[in-house]
């Protein structure tokens, strides 16, 4: 049973549009993450947060931005979508450094 929810599951959008991918968790975890995954490739960390009002960029450069106004909510925004942004975006949360992640089901984004 999923305790971390991502919407939408699938999104096809035109170049230049602004989009927000939603991620919410009900476990009260302080740590949240956004990963990007292309088919057959590794997951790459693009953003993370240690708690409310904390956001950091990850290892993979990304044109997206994130916010963390509430513990349970960690949305990702693309101001102007491009075809190079086509990918799967996975949100995750964790109790702490010694614990595994709980992942959402992902948003598969296609920019045409």
């Amino acid at each position: 049973e999923a305790d971390i929810y991502q919407t939408p599951r699938y999104l096809v959008i035109g170049t230049g549009k602004k989009i927000t991918l939603e991620c919410s968790q009900t476990m009260g975890h302080d740590k949240m993450y956004w990963y990007q995954q292309d088919p057959g490739m590794e997951l790459h960390l693009i953003h993370y947060s240690y708690g409310v009002n904390s956001t950091e960029k990850g290892d993979l450069s990304s044109e997206s931005t994130v916010s963390r106004i509430r513990t349970e909510h960690f949305p990702l925004t693309l101001e102007s979508a491009r075809p190079s942004h086509t990918s799967q975006y996975l949100c995750a949360s964790s109790e702490g450094k010694d614990y595994g992640y709980t992942f959402g089901s992902g948003t598969r984004l296609t920019v045409v």
Binding site: Q6, K31, Y33, Y35, G40, M41, E42, L43, H44, L45, Y48, Y50, E56, G58, D59, L90, A92, K97, D98, Y99, G100, Y101, T102, F103, G104, S105, G106, R108
Partner: protein, 112 residues
């Protein structure tokens, strides 16, 4: 630079045919090694965390082991429902982004 290499990239087994998946890693101090299962179109599902060489963990037909340079995921008498992509990830003990470094995964197919 932290690195995770998984082999083989793909593995096809008959139902009941036991085998092992390999995860080799180089990391500047290991805080944890994680195994995940990922089904098509879904986010990764947490399986195990291993913290130190010699540690072993089991869950149903799966057993994970850890040495100083690699981890193995042993699958005993697999069933078709074990078909999935198995991901390995490491968390370094150093500072910096609190994220996991993932391998590309092993795509496992169990044929009835």
């Amino acid at each position: 630079e932290d690195q995770v290499t998984q082999s083989p990239e793909a593995l096809r087994l008959q139902e009941g045919e036991s085998s092992s998946l390999n995860c080799s890693y180089t990391v500047s101090g290991l805080r944890g090694l994680f195994w995940y299962r990922q089904d098509p179109g879904k986010g990764p599902e947490f399986l195990f965390t291993l913290y130190s060489a010699g540690e072993e963990k089991e869950k149903e037909r799966l057993k994970a082991t850890l040495t100083k340079k690699e981890s193995f995921l042993h699958i005993t008498a697999p069933k078709p429902e074990d078909s999935a992509t198995y991901l390995c990830a490491v968390r370094p003990s150093g500072g910096g982004a609190d994220g996991l470094t993932f391998g590309k995964g092993t795509h496992l197919i169990i044929q009835p």
